[in-house]
């Protein structure tokens, strides 16, 4: 079911991708899915750390079989250049010269020291769009402070507002900024800059401080503090305009369903859907205010119904009655039991030359006439050295061989 190639909306856009681990690679994958040629620049000496991170294909070891890496690096090419060697940087600059977008997520100064800072790159490609994703930003007294996704979740305020008021602020439990806000914001900025370049011919430099970008996913929390002096705490699953609203234990081992009732009409539908047990007739539950005043009791009573049912059944019963509900799905649930994900074709099998068959995310943003397509599995380390250096950069066979011997290609 290959879409005609002319329908790849980003065809003709080339990306020199110096980013590694998660926030950068998850961003450039989207560009690749929609037809951009993404060239991942790494090296055997300094490879993408995710090549070494689990989960691995069972029974296999090595730098090309991380399931995590191989999911988020589909639709990219890999070249290996020693960027600690000036000659390697020179070749990287030549890749930039034929690229439209450059991305990195190093600490400030790293790209500059390699001669790959924005000013240097505009010399080889005046209209280049460069997006740099340092953790703290290029400037400021703490620009050299560093952190990983989970730490960024901590400092950005996301952890503080997630959980229960009387519990330790654990947050999402994952390196959420790396897969949530930061790669997505990076793509919004890069694509907006591309739009501007299409109109004016001008490129530009984009700085995305991952700390700041992640703060932007805390909604009105900052404004609430500056305007009212109020520190938003964690919600404990509840919202001021809904009750019941939260996670309810269902039948089975660690099975949960969320339920969200906003209006009194939804409350009525809810009570009917669960068979109008006597407790639902108490007038104190008739209005939102009443339900909010008696929320602890309400939650226990709601759970006395959900605990008897499978989580999926709870969802189906309530959604059929027009009440918002959803299974708290695990990775297994998403892959195996979720009919919607199947119907939407969210997951797709890819064959990877070393790792074998793997189920990966397809293209999550659906564009009706240019849907994009997952075209190739994640690259082996250095898989496209010859293509990029010889075909794109017209490096001769002899020069290529000497680059190999000198360890510039490594």
């Amino acid at each position: 079911m290959a879409a005609p190639i002319s329908k790849m909306p980003l065809e003709g856009i080339r990306v020199a991708d110096f980013s590694w681990v998660s926030a950068g690679p998850r961003a450039t994958r989207i560009l690749g899915n929609f037809g951009a040629e993404v060239i991942k620049i790494e090296s055997a000496k300094r490879m993408d750390l995710n090549r070494g991170r689990p989960p691995f294909v069972a029974g296999k070891k090595g730098i090309n079989v991380s399931g995590l890496f191989n999911n988020i690096n589909c639709d990219k090419l890999s070249v290996t250049l020693d960027l600690r060697n000036p000659k390697g940087c020179e070749i990287a600059r030549r890749i930039v010269a034929i690229s439209d977008i450059v991305i990195d997520n190093f600490n400030p100064g790293v790209m500059d020291r390699m001669g790959l800072g924005y000013d240097a790159l505009t010399e080889v490609r005046p209209d280049i769009i460069v997006i740099s994703m340092p953790v703290m930003g290029k400037t400021g007294p703490r620009s050299q402070y560093g952190g990983y996704g989970m730490g960024i979740e901590a400092i950005s305020g996301l952890k503080y507002i997630s959980g229960f008021p009387d519990k330790m602020p654990l947050g999402t439990g994952i390196a959420y900024p790396d897969s949530g806000p930061n790669p997505r914001h990076a793509m919004v900025a890069a694509l907006a800059a591309l739009h501007y370049r299409n109109k004016t011919g001008k490129g530009q430099f984009i700085e995305l401080a991952q700390y700041e970008s992640s703060i932007c996913f805390t909604g009105a929390a900052v404004l609430e503090y500056t305007a009212n002096g109020t520190v938003q705490g964690s919600w404990g699953g509840r919202l001021p305009n809904a009750a019941p609203h939260g996670a309810y234990r269902c039948r089975g081992d660690d099975q949960w369903c969320v339920i969200a009732v906003f209006t009194d009409q939804e409350w009525e539908s809810f009570t009917k859907a669960i068979g109008s047990p006597p407790w639902t007739g108490q007038s104190k539950f008739n209005t939102l205010l009443g339900r909010k005043h008696n929320e602890d009791e309400l939650d226990r009573l709601v759970e006395s119904w959900t605990i008897q049912k499978d989580a999926r059944k709870v969802m189906e019963i309530l959604q059929s009655a027009g009440v918002a509900a959803g299974v708290i799905q695990s990775g297994k649930d998403l892959l195996e039991d979720d009919l919607q994900m199947k119907a939407r074709g969210h997951f797709v099998q890819v064959e990877h030359p070393e790792a074998g068959s793997q189920t990966v995310d397809a293209v999550r943003i659906k564009l009706t006439s240019t849907p994009g397509k997952l075209r190739r599995p994640a690259p082996l380390l250095g898989e496209h050295n010859e293509y990029v250096l010889k075909e794109l950069l017209s490096i001769s066979d002899d020069e290529y061989d000497s680059l190999l011997i000198d360890g510039i290609i490594c």
Partner: protein, 429 residues
């Protein structure tokens, strides 16, 4: 970075904004990059304005801080899409519009005769972005999906919390933010394609799918290893805790900072807090634990972590000593002390800490937005990115209900005052 007359990346783009809370961040992203975003509201104002918190806790549809935050830079008109005259006006607006963003249940716009095919006949370059819980098609597409349903079904909620307690509901409407940001990406890709071909199209974003790619590797782990990734409390993906209380709050850091443990141990020792961690056994264990910090030189070492699994009391002891040290320091002392020793400890910040952070103060992250009606200037959080040529910027405070009716209906669409009065009486506006 910001100058008064700076260019904006999307200043040539007009957006009609029909979104509720689920999509209001998408149009914020576009508006803050310069797009002319026109919110279409009912004459009472839309539901986003009912969401708290409210300015100085005064509950009023012109005082919602939630509305302020998400709707700055936008304009507002009132229009009734369920009225035929209202629909006609909407069609007129579509002629000069690049993007429509909506969050209605699938099929609703078709009932009004305003589905993509109909709108495309008016403006073939139009991009219609539809943000819903589950997408435009499929068996769950009609399901109701407030944020909590999105983060539950998308698999994010399953990851957070203590193993023996209910999963955490992440704060801040993460499902809405993820879906909105994906919609903005889809719109910008569609705009790029339109620039090449002149063709518009529909962008279909499912919050569930948007969330499902923000859960790290939970689906991969099941696919490859048939292991369900569970919530693990203070552990993250290692065999030891990484979230600890300290003197005045909480911090996030592996015990002794992983790869930088020697410098931290020296710091602890200097303050008489190292206990027996200088003994060879603990030094050996700390070395193994450092592997978890992903030191490039140690990538793929063949370290057998079974030794630690078989002797959990060793790690427990290290955690106890680390914990005792942490309790003698504030978050700020630990943050500075560790980062200066190249250890990536981070404090768990609340909004107040962010507002006061010297890093953000120097970078002028907060921006002033004048609210003449309130007689004050409010400090808004800045943008997620800084574009050197076309800065992110808040150019105007959020609109009052229908504030731009006159300029848009009279000046831009050329309706007369009489026509406007009739439309108002008839319920169109």
């Amino acid at each position: 970075m910001t100058t008064q007359d700076s260019e904006a990346a999307l200043q040539d783009i007009r957006v009609l904004d029909l979104t509720n809370e689920m999509g209001v961040y998408c149009t914020k992203l576009l508006a803050d990059l310069g797009a002319d975003v026109i919110r279409i509201e009912s004459f009472k104002g839309d539901q986003v304005r009912c969401r708290g918190p409210f300015f100085q806790d005064n509950v009023d549809s012109e005082l919602s801080l939630f509305h302020f935050h998400f709707n700055a830079n936008k304009r507002s008109i009132t229009l009734n899409l369920e009225n035929e005259d209202g629909q006609d006006i909407f069609r007129k607006l579509v002629k000069t519009t690049d993007v429509v963003v909506e969050t209605f249940p699938p099929g609703y716009l078709a009932e009004l005769g305003l589905d993509y095919a109909s709108l495309n006949r008016i403006n073939s370059g139009l991009i219609l972005a539809s943000i819903t819980g589950f997408g435009q098609d499929g068996p769950y597409s009609k399901y109701k999906a407030p944020d909590i349903v999105g983060v539950a079904m998308g698999g994010l909620m399953y990851m957070g919390g203590f193993p023996d307690e209910p999963p955490f509901y992440p704060g801040g409407f993460q499902g809405y933010h993820l879906a909105s940001t994906d919609a903005a990406i889809g719109i910008l890709i569609a705009l790029h394609y339109r620039e090449l071909t002149g063709e518009g199209q529909q962008v279909d974003v499912s919050m569930e799918e948007s969330v499902s790619e923000a859960i790290e590797y939970a689906t991969v782990l099941w696919d490859l290893r048939k292991v369900i990734r569970k919530r693990t409390g203070r552990h993250v993906f290692r065999d030891w805790n990484e979230i600890f209380p300290c003197k005045d709050g909480y911090i996030m850091c592996s015990p002794l900072g992983g790869a930088g443990w020697e410098a931290i141990l020296a710091w602890m020792d200097n303050e008489g807090m190292a206990a027996d961690l200088k003994e060879p056994l603990y030094q050996q264990v700390l070395k193994v634990m450092a592997w978890g910090q992903m030191d490039p030189a140690a990538l793929l070492p063949d370290i057998d972590t079974d030794m630690l699994r078989k002797n959990p009391q060793i790690i427990e002891h290290i955690e106890e000593v680390w914990q005792a040290f942490l309790m003698t320091h504030t978050r700020e002392e630990l943050y500075k002390g560790c980062q200066e020793r190249n250890v990536r400890l981070m404090p768990i910040n609340c909004a107040k800490d962010i507002v006061e952070d010297p890093q953000l103060v120097v970078r002028e992250f907060l921006v002033d937005v004048e609210h003449p009606e309130l007689g004050t200037t409010l400090k808004y959080p800045g943008g997620p990115y800084r574009l050197s040529g076309t800065p992110w910027k808040i150019r105007r405070r959020p609109p009052l209900i229908g504030e731009h009716n006159s300029v848009i209906y009279e000046k831009e669409l050329g309706l007369s005052k009489q026509e406007l009065a009739i439309l108002k009486a008839g319920g169109g506006i």
